[in-house]
Symmetry: C2
Subunit: 150 residues, 2 copies
């Protein structure tokens, strides 16, 4: 097998490399989140609500990168835990608006610094400049790939 072909192999394919990289990163966060009874996805939802305030389910799903059916299930759990609350939009009866409760905001304020500390260590090990390059390349990837016809 030539080195050219080797690049096309499963090990080097973009989806796999992206998956592995993400796994390596998330492995550092999951134990801390689990210690607080949180999944990675639940934490994303809480962070988005704390950063953006009240949001309807569709926008919340979009910003947290979670599919609507998954979000519907998760919101029930998060609401049962007292971290968020939902209400129907008066101006559009189809929408549900969600926001973090007071208790939820306090909880987020407890977890956030721990996440930031972990993230800081990772950025420190990798290098800020490399990280900037990487994020730029990933954004461009998303853009150019979204422009290709399916």
């Amino acid at each position: 097998m030539t080195s050219e072909q080797l690049l096309e192999t499963t090990n080097r394919s973009l989806p796999i490399v992206l998956l592995r990289a993400r796994e390596a990163v998330m492995a550092h966060f999951r134990p801390m989140l689990a210690a607080h009874g949180l999944t990675e996805q639940q934490w994303r939802v809480l962070r988005v609500l704390s950063e953006m305030g009240e949001l309807d389910a569709s926008h919340l799903a979009h910003h947290a990168c979670i599919l609507p059916p998954s979000l519907t299930r998760m919101l029930k759990t998060l609401e049962a835990n007292g971290w968020i609350e939902g209400r129907r939009d008066k101006d559009d009866g189809r929408r549900m608006l969600f926001s973090a409760t007071e208790e939820g905001m306090r909880f987020i304020a407890t977890v956030s610094p721990k996440g930031a500390a972990i993230y800081h260590d990772l950025v420190d090990a990798y290098g800020e400049e490399k990280l900037r390059q990487l994020v730029d390349l990933l954004d461009e990837l998303q853009t150019s790939v979204n422009g290709v016809a399916k």
Copy 2:
């Protein structure tokens, strides 16, 4: 909010950016795979078996980036479809060895070119040089992140 803080926001965090980029890429493959009755993960398993030949479950899981419990379930489906077959290792009764069947290899040979065509279009749109840079940065990310204490 300063631009400095903006970078630390959920939208720009590494896990999210990696997730979005991967989603953008996979969105191009899933319809084709689904048309062949395959999930993304099943396709990874079949590709690894076709590229590496017979493998025990642990190594197969590792190379396909699938956790062992997930793999156990998937292998039953793939075997029921006649694409793979498993046998117990005579030299180590703990291990199960899996390989693609003749039918499986033919099936893989049918799907592969379609996947390669899609991949080619994506690389074309993004640029080979950028892709090389990206893969390098992702590999380095994985390495440096794995070196950070958990």
